[in-house]
């Protein structure tokens, strides 16, 4: 008897609550353009505060996807029409160098957020050594801001810089999988040539041979992997990476130029457990 009344009421209550949540989601006023990102650091100069964000909330060695917002220190409003460049710099005892980095562009569909990436190939003992300079212009006015930043050492080798047989220095950085799983993963890697201490252009149309191994399992490898090949769409290298179980994997690599000449790395054989060119992954 009672149930007869309670059920419709419950039903209506449920319906109405679900409706109201829908409405709040549609409300444009509350949209937070950095939702889901964690602030890493603020770089402040006299006029602006540059907020740096990422998914992890810190800089670490390897590939870092970075979002940023520029806040006007007087109005507390975010700048929507800046053009920005950046320069990360590693200060070493005898020299200094920069690192591979993208240009900075407005995030798709966002008004105040700009994004790009930086690949930190290394870091100092306690995360020190790096500084980041942001040069930007707003309505033809040019500004700059510099601050030293902390870059922590990633647990695994997700980036490697090396000199190849052609005499050039290269940097290889793993971008995906960010959340590896027992499956065929999409492996995405960036390949950069160190043209000078400051310039690291993307290398096109090389091939990187892939041989994933588990040293803890007597160098077990998986099947249906493919070699990394260049994709003009996103200027990165892509491959299928099968991971048959969780644990520590070494991705043995071999860099081949457009002539298919091996520039770095060796095959894994019974006598050679690991290529001199490799990345690591753990999950």
């Amino acid at each position: 008897m009672k149930l007869k009344y309670i059920l419709p009421i419950l039903f209506i209550a449920l319906m109405s609550t679900s409706c109201s949540t829908d409405e709040s989601n549609d409300d444009p006023q509350i949209v937070n353009e950095v939702d889901g990102l964690i602030r890493i650091h603020d770089i402040i100069n006299d006029t602006h505060t540059i907020e740096l964000y990422s998914k992890t909330g810190n800089f670490s060695t390897g590939y870092n996807a970075i979002s940023m917002r520029l806040m006007d220190n007087t109005t507390n409003l975010y700048v929507e029409d800046a053009s920005i460049t950046w320069l990360p710099m590693m200060q070493m005892p005898t020299m200094q160098h920069s690192s591979p980095r993208s240009s900075i562009a407005k995030s798709l569909g966002k008004d105040t957020v700009y994004e790009g990436y930086i690949v930190y190939q290394m870091t100092g003992m306690d995360g020190s050594g790096w500084s980041l300079t942001i040069d930007y212009s707003i309505a033809d006015m040019v500004y700059t801001a510099t601050e030293s930043i902390t870059v922590t050492q990633a647990e695994n080798q997700n980036v490697t810089s090396f000199m190849a047989d052609d005499g050039s220095n290269y940097v290889i950085a793993m971008i995906e999988p960010s959340a590896p799983k027992i499956a065929i993963n999409n492996l995405k890697v960036g390949l950069f040539r160190m043209e000078s201490m400051m310039s690291f252009p993307i290398v096109e149309d090389y091939t990187i041979a892939l041989d994933p191994r588990m040293p803890g399992m007597d160098n077990h490898t998986s099947s249906n992997n493919t070699d990394l090949s260049y994709s003009a769409a996103d200027t990165m290298y892509h491959a299928d990476l099968s991971l048959t179980m969780t644990g520590y994997w070494v991705l043995n690599l071999k860099l081949l130029n457009t002539m298919d000449e091996v520039l770095k790395g060796e095959d894994v054989t019974d006598d050679n457990n690991q290529s001199s060119l490799y990345l690591e992954l753990e999950f």
Partner: protein
């Protein structure tokens, strides 16, 4: 071809239904003796509870091994895997009183028979080939472990105590059984405990990791609602710990099963339906493999597995004119999950984890009908048909994605339609009887064959990967049985021939890299276009007098694949001879059993040429009666000559038990 066969059987069945001839026939008499080996008929039944076995406390495994067509594959001293017609688990239907139950071990270390004990059971019903499809689809045969029926005898309380000791392995057994039978109420409860240390093979070689320990208890309650209706409930709890597997690189720290059922039973001789039995059941198995007792391993690992099954069946029996019809509608839902965690020797590296059975759900529903038609007093014709729908689903995304490494195209579920049918003609006279049977059956791949992920097989030292795209395995079967009785002499022949299409077996895939450290490579389950299995047994006996008899059996088995290779685990030439002496309160028997040289082995599947052997056993038994109580004493010597041997069915050639003195004592209090 397949459709043609189905049509033929369909016609045959419908013909049977329509045929109407006068004649009544008595039921084919079912032999219940347990000490002789020539008793397994096409559908054979062996009573467990009548104290006529060599050992009253022998395990289910020991018991089954005595049957003609059954061989037990041994990985240790416990949990042997039954094989019928040279086909094992995945080609058989093994049920407990019609209940589907599936082991939780990816390496077949826990056949269903290991989760019950003789004290739980009344008899074992063995159906060779397609005559074993009453409870499910199979190719090799069906094994149904029957629970006792509730009895309303008003016989009051009966207690029996069993004690056993065997010298080899310091094997101790103790059992207690209480049974109360009233007018409307029945209860039986039993418990048994078994513990064995490592056994010695012939010439006192200690077989390391062959110990085990097991508890089993069951309770059965029955209530008679009316004269025709009764309700029953049954619970079996079985727990084995510290089980060693000398033939394998890992042991088992826990194998636990809870098997429950509720049954409603209707029987009435005067109605159209003679009986109607419906059962609801649930069982759950937990199986934990570990290697903590092994001092040296390449890598430490844990491999737990779980299997839960829910199901039901409804059986009906109808008799009219010369027909005896039986129906069985059944269904089950099973969840099989197994995982593996490995601990790297370099402690800086994280644990390695994978699903070896990636949460496979199996839903089956099917219908079975059997008609036994008596043509006249001597002849009868039996036909059966089972149709079923079989559905597999990979429930975990991780599981699906991990299998997609090897099969990028597969989806998470797969449907199969299964058909099994059999027809059998038998002719019976006083001096001889013959029967011929034909059958066609299909089976779905097992969870390991379909979805296993790097399952290590220590027999051939390969990792196995399941294949979700496998076709159903199909078999055409012919069998013949003949018995001839001449005064005191009896001779019998039985033989089965199987032509199996899409015979599922592992094939090396050289492109895949072994996961298990030290393994030779990876095999993927695949199918041979066909395979042939043939077996023939010749039994004979001669009765010198009422008390003294001699009997003997020789058997020959053959199995070959379409690739012209021998099939693995095919029994070589075997023989058994027994002289028995029986008077009412004493029995004695001496047995010689042996196998010929296993020359038709298959090294591809890890077999080698197992040499011939012969062993001699002696068993004796006494029965004493006091006023109301009864004492049964069974004692003897297994392997009298302490022969060191192993058989073709011993995994990695682990040696069998050497000389063993045993004594079983049963005390029955009424």
């Amino acid at each position: 071809m397949k459709h043609f066969i189905i049509c033929c059987f369909g016609l045959l069945l419908s013909g049977l239904m329509c045929a109407q001839q006068q004649k009544s026939d008595t039921l084919n008499s079912i032999k219940k003796d347990t000490t002789k080996l020539d008793e397994i008929t096409v559908v054979g039944r062996r009573k467990l509870s009548n104290y006529r076995q060599e050992k009253t406390l022998s395990s289910v495994d020991d018991f089954l091994e005595k049957a003609n067509k059954i061989t037990m594959i041994k990985r240790g001293n416990y949990a042997w895997e039954p094989s019928i017609n040279n086909m094992n688990s995945q080609r058989l239907t093994v049920t407990i009183d019609g209940m589907q139950i599936f082991g939780a071990c990816t390496d077949k270390m826990d056949p269903i028979t290991s989760y019950v004990d003789v004290s739980n059971l009344e008899k074992v019903s063995v159906g060779s080939g397609q005559s074993g499809t009453e409870n499910g689809h199979c190719v090799g045969g069906g094994l149904d472990l029957k629970l006792p029926e509730t009895k309303f005898y008003e016989s009051g309380l009966k207690t029996s105590i069993d004690l056993g000791y065997e010298t080899n392995g310091n094997y101790r057994t103790a059992g207690l059984e209480l049974e109360y039978s009233g007018n409307k109420f029945y209860i039986k409860t039993d418990g048994i405990f078994r513990k064995s240390d490592n056994y010695d093979s012939g010439r006192n070689q200690d077989v390391l990791y062959s110990q085990f320990e097991k508890y089993n208890s069951s309770t059965q309650v029955g209530y008679k609602l009316t004269e025709n209706h009764k309700l029953e409930a049954n619970v079996i709890y079985d727990k084995a710990t510290d089980i060693g597997y000398p033939a394998l690189p890992m042991d088992v720290s826990l194998a636990e099963a809870i098997i429950t059922s509720v049954t409603h039973n209707y029987s009435n001789d005067s109605t159209f339906f003679k009986s109607l039995e419906s059962k609801l059941y649930f069982n759950t198995i937990t199986h934990v493999m570990d290697d903590s007792k092994r001092p040296v391993v390449a890598i430490r690992m844990d491999m737990p597995g779980w299997s839960n099954t829910y199901g039901f069946y409804s059986k009906a029996a109808i008799a009219f004119k010369n027909h005896e019809l039986s129906f069985n509608l059944n269904g089950f839902y099973n969840r099989s999950l197994a995982e593996m965690t490995m601990y790297p020797n370099d402690s800086n590296q994280p644990e390695m984890f994978m699903y070896t059975w990636p949460d496979i759900r199996t839903l089956y529903s099917g219908f079975y009908v059997k008609d036994r038609y008596s043509i006249n007093e001597k002849e009868s014709l039996t036909a059966s048909l089972r149709l079923g729908y079989h559905h597999n689903r990979i429930a975990k995304d991780v599981g699906l994605e991990s299998l997609q490494i090897f099969y990028p195209e597969i989806e998470d579920s797969k449907n199969r339609f299964l058909t099994s049918m059999a027809a059998d003609y038998s002719f019976k006279q006083k001096a001889y009887d013959v029967s011929f049977g034909l059958g066609y059956g299909e089976r779905a791949p097992s969870v390991s064959e379909g979805y296993g992920f790097f399952l290590f097989n220590s027999f051939d030292n390969f990792d196995y990967i399941g294949n979700p795209t496998l076709n159903n395995e199909k078999a055409i079967e012919a069998n013949i049985k003949a018995n001839y009785h001449f005064n005191k002499f009896h001779i019998g022949l039985e033989s089965s021939y199987f032509h199996i299409m899409d015979y599922i077996i592992g094939n090396i895939d050289p492109s895949l890299n072994a996961m298990t450290i030290g393994a030779n490579g990876v095999k993927v389950y695949n199918a041979l276009s066909h395979a042939t299995i043939f077996d023939v047994y010749l039994n004979s006996s001669y009765r010198f007098s009422k008390s003294l008899s001699i009997n003997g059996t020789v058997g020959y088995n053959y199995g070959k694949g379409s690739n012209d290779e021998n099939l693995p685990l095919i029994k070589p030439f075997s023989y058994l001879a027994e002289v028995g002496y029986n008077i009412s309160r004493f029995n004695a028997a001496i047995q010689l059993e042996g196998n010929g040289n296993q020359s038709n082995y298959n090294s591809f599947y890890g077999e080698d040429e197992t040499p011939q052997f012969a062993v001699l056993n002696l068993n004796l038994g006494n029965t004493f009666y006091t006023k109301e109580n009864k004492i049964i004493l069974k004692y003897g010597v297994d392997n009298m000559l302490d022969t060191n041997y192993s058989t073709y069915a011993d995994w990695n050639n682990i040696p069998r038990q050497g000389r063993n003195f045993y004594l079983n004592l049963s005390y029955v209090i009424r």
